[in-house]
């Protein structure tokens, strides 16, 4: 019991630190938000022009697609870049050995920090881009709290899956000196197969199958489809089950991979 | 003939006072509150061709600001600088051709390039004539021992290697004036010595003017015939090195050792006791009023002196004394 209280205290300070860090870069924040808003306008205009030709595309109405696209755009910055560069930095600068000595599990601590940042960014996005979308683009967001709740849970699971993927990716990437290039490769694949750019049902069937076998759709396409009403709520059970299965596999792999890498570092004395 | 002419030079920085947060930032945008800080105030000096001048003072005294104005990086607020007939700011390019600069802690070279490639680039930028370049390169390689590092990229050099590389890059276009900002900082004794010899040698063979800021008084003692001391933005001393010793170091100390315990000593006038223990006595006296032999004679008549040592004030302790007691500057007339 005492141990739990201790952990919670640490988590609270990790959460607080991450929020402070994010708010410190004021100018950065507004710049990113502005750039993001511009790109959202580009996307929405494109899709509106597209729907001027047809009533539905791949079975989706304009309202459904636009809601999907705007929500996916909001989540995109949260998943686009991951933390591979930071990861490489911890390992190269040798901070990882001191990190490993701390009483709280390293992966757990980084995970809490990462999740905090993700959800603070989501709140900012919902506030600014969300209200802009509702006011200017006439998007109707669901009012049913149940839908929001299931979206948030699904997003939490999705982000955890992606976190584990990035953890594995980070363990691989630090062998390369060109972390930035690898990260762009990761970003490109993620952009296409996570559903950030378009609802995955619009992809040709071959690419759709490929997307199903990658973990990326779990973090964007699945939660956003729930919130935009593309996926009906009665499928919730099977969706969560599927996400949990992904999470279990990815978590196991990430632990294995990390232990392997750490052994390697300690052997090399890096 | 003076090559650097500084008249009534002053620099005042104006910074906007910011309050925190978005509100403060917006306020600063529309109704900025300025705060002024005088970095250099009414500076005057002339430097002749071929002089090596040590420009010294505590951190924040205005050394860097002065150097930046002389090199054309900063605009003066008041007064004027003329370097070889050019205004370094308005005729920046013309001035840049005449000068070489080494900023001790910032590299002028390209991080990823081998030294020889960096030097080639610099030579290209300054349009050094190829045959002349070749000649200088082989000369520098010898004096600065560059051979071993010519193919090494700057990023993998030691501090000493880096500084030798910087010097070669700063001198490769045979500048008439060289500004060296802390050229020996953090280096070991051997490298320091080599660098000093290089500067001295180059100065003598090319009649190059050197202005050097440093915290290492060894640099000053070995290189500089003239010293300018700046404090809180104003010049407080300008003159030959040996005059500092005469003017600021008017006290000498003398220490007597005895075989028997010292008791009851009558000191000569203009002489002051610094410390006294059972077998040793340390005195301080004004060299303009007393000679060492007068003090020694006076003391030998009273106590059984086994040995005595006379201490000249060294530059380091004089400068330290000056830095710590700004009022001490007033003890001498500034040599104009």
């Amino acid at each position: 019991m005492n141990k739990l209280a201790y952990r919670l205290r640490i988590y609270r300070s990790v959460v607080g630190m991450n929020i402070k860090e994010m708010l410190a870069y004021n100018l950065w924040f507004w710049s990113q938000l502005g750039a993001h808003l511009f790109l959202t306008i580009v996307y929405v205009s494109f899709w509106k022009a597209l729907y001027s030709e047809r009533e539905t595309i791949a079975g989706l109405t304009m309202q459904q697609t636009l809601t999907y696209i705007i929500l996916a755009r909001m989540i995109a910055p949260l998943v686009q870049w991951g933390y591979t560069q930071e990861f490489g930095y911890w390992i190269r600068e040798g901070t990882i050995s001191s990190e490993l000595l701390r009483p709280v599990d390293f992966q757990e601590r980084i995970f809490i920090g990462h999740l905090t940042r993700t959800f603070v960014a989501l709140a900012q996005q919902l506030l600014v881009t969300g209200s802009f979308a509702v006011l200017v683009f006439d998007i109707r967001l669901p009012t049913d709290p149940l839908i929001w709740l299931s979206f948030l849970i699904s997003l939490l699971l999705g982000c955890s899956i992606l976190f584990c993927f990035d953890w594995i990716f980070g363990c691989v990437a630090f062998y390369s000196t060109e972390v930035w290039g690898l990260q762009v490769v990761r970003g490109s694949i993620l952009m296409l197969f996570s559903g950030v750019l378009l609802p995955l049902t619009m992809l040709p069937s071959g690419l759709q199958t490929l997307a199903q076998w990658m973990p990326f759709a779990q973090s964007v396409s699945i939660p956003v489809s729930l919130l935009s009403g593309i996926t009906p709520l009665d499928q919730l059970g099977s969706i969560w089950l599927q996400q949990l299965a992904w999470l279990a596999v990815m978590l196991m792999l990430s632990r294995l991979m990390f232990n392997f890498s750490v052994r390697k570092i300690t052997v090399q004395g890096g | 003939m003076s090559v650097i002419d500084v008249r009534n030079l002053g620099k005042t920085y104006r910074t906007i006072e910011k309050e925190g947060g978005v509100k403060g930032a917006i306020k600063a945008l529309f109704r900025p509150q300025y705060r002024e800080k005088v970095a250099v105030h009414d500076l005057n000096f002339q430097i002749d061709a071929g002089e090596i001048v040590g420009y010294i003072g505590v951190n924040g005294a205005g050394k860097s600001t002065t150097i930046k104005m002389l090199t054309g990086i900063l605009y003066p607020t008041t007064g004027a600088v003329t370097v070889l007939g050019h205004d370094p700011q308005r005729e920046r390019v013309a001035n840049a051709r005449n000068i070489g600069v080494v900023f001790g802690q910032r590299s002028q070279l390209w991080w990823d390039l081998a030294l020889i490639e960096s030097l080639n680039l610099v030579a290209n930028i300054y349009e050094v004539e190829p045959s002349r370049y070749k000649q200088l390169l082989s000369h520098f390689s010898e004096v600065l021992e560059l051979d071993e590092i010519l193919k090494t990229p700057i990023r993998s050099m030691s501090l000493g290697q880096k500084m030798r590389a910087e010097l070669a890059a700063a001198f490769i276009h045979e500048p008439k004036i060289v500004y060296l900002d802390e050229p020996t900082i953090g280096l070991d004794v051997m490298v320091k010595q080599r660098i000093r010899e290089f500067i001295k040698d180059y100065n003598q063979t090319h009649n190059t003017t050197v202005m050097l800021t440093t915290h290492d008084l060894g640099d000053i003692e070995q290189l500089c015939s003239r010293v300018i001391i700046i404090d809180a933005g104003s010049k407080v001393y300008d003159g030959p090195l040996h005059a500092i010793k005469q003017q600021f170091g008017k006290y000498r100390t003398i220490t007597f050792e005895t075989n028997q315990p010292i008791t009851n000593v009558q000191l000569p006038p203009a002489c002051e006791q610094l410390s006294l223990s059972e077998y040793s006595l340390e005195l301080k006296f004004d060299r303009s009023q007393l000679s060492a032999s007068q003090v020694a004679t006076a003391l030998m008549q009273q106590i059984d002196v086994a040995d005595f040592t006379l201490n000249e004030p060294d530059l380091e302790s004089i400068i330290k004394h000056l830095y710590q007691n700004p009022t001490a500057y007033n003890e001498v007339a500034v040599n104009e």
């Binding site: 100018l27 750039a35 790109l39 306008i41 205009s45 047809r54 595309i57 290039g181 | -």
Partner: protein, 262 residues
């Protein structure tokens, strides 16, 4: 001029040597740019294969716009990428001063200091798309059309550089200029589609205020035979005006730097 091209050539040769030293990085750098653009293009293709055209624009026609924009962006990427990091990598660590004590133009020195080879990826994608679109659309590939494209791409590249130069010069006041550059630069995304897709105000913005439209939409319209009149030939003039204004602003910023020093 001759002197400057000689010095620039030296920088290029040095850059190439570094590049050869890190061949793998170069390869990954270029590939990553291609992949990143590839993802967007595949997505666009996936959607557009389901409709014959959008407001009269076919997939190939939109790819022509996209390709022209990518080529202009590539010019900026290749020659002026260092403008992004002037505050972070030069002014803050005091490295900018070394440009000011050398007998060449500091802006030239800054740009030459890092020629960005990652741009090769932009050129591969850009050439590929423009070539593909020209062939598919059966547009005449003649000396005249090629010269037109080259002129427009260069003008577009200069427009990109001009806008980045203005935002980079803010570093003389605020030090960290990347967010400012990022914000302005991101509006070029509007220019990857026909400007008619957007609200009228976006068209005006991208034509007269942040004239990225001249890098893509206007030249593509001309090549496709749309009647846009003299607007087709305005790009070089716009480029000239923007770069002049941008350089003036840069010099103004440089003056400010000279009075504060940091």
């Amino acid at each position: 001029m001759l002197r400057y091209s000689k010095i620039y050539w030296y920088f290029v040769v040095q850059r190439f040597k570094i590049l050869m030293e890190y061949r793998l990085n170069f390869f990954i750098g270029s590939i990553s740019t291609v992949l990143f653009q590839g993802a967007s293009i595949i997505a666009m293709w996936a959607v557009l294969r389901q409709v014959p055209s959008i407001q009269g624009w076919t997939l190939e026609q939109i790819l022509l716009i996209y390709g022209l924009l990518t080529l202009s962006k590539g010019i900026n990427h290749l020659f002026a990428d260092n403008l992004w990091v002037i505050g972070r990598d030069y002014i803050r660590p005091g490295q900018f001063d070394r440009f000011l004590v050398r007998p060449i133009n500091p802006l030239f020195h800054l740009l030459a200091d890092r020629i960005c080879h990652d741009a090769i990826g932009d050129f591969i994608v850009g050439f590929g798309l423009v070539g593909y679109a020209m062939v598919k659309l059966q547009l005449p590939i003649t000396l005249a059309s090629i010269s037109f494209i080259i002129l427009m791409v260069i003008s577009g590249g200069i427009i990109f550089i001009a806008l980045n130069l203005i935002t980079a010069a803010t570093a003389f006041w605020i030090m960290d200029s990347i967010p400012v550059t990022n914000l302005v630069f991101s509006t070029n995304e509007f220019a990857q589609y026909p400007l008619t897709f957007y609200h009228r105000s976006v068209g005006i913005l991208l034509t007269w205020l942040l004239p990225y439209g001249f890098a893509s939409y206007y030249p593509a319209s001309y090549l496709l035979g749309h009647s846009i009149g003299w607007m087709a030939w305005l790009a070089p003039l716009i480029a000239l005006v923007s770069i002049t204004i941008a350089y003036r602003f840069w010099v103004f910023g440089l003056k400010h730097y000279g009075s504060t020093g940091s």
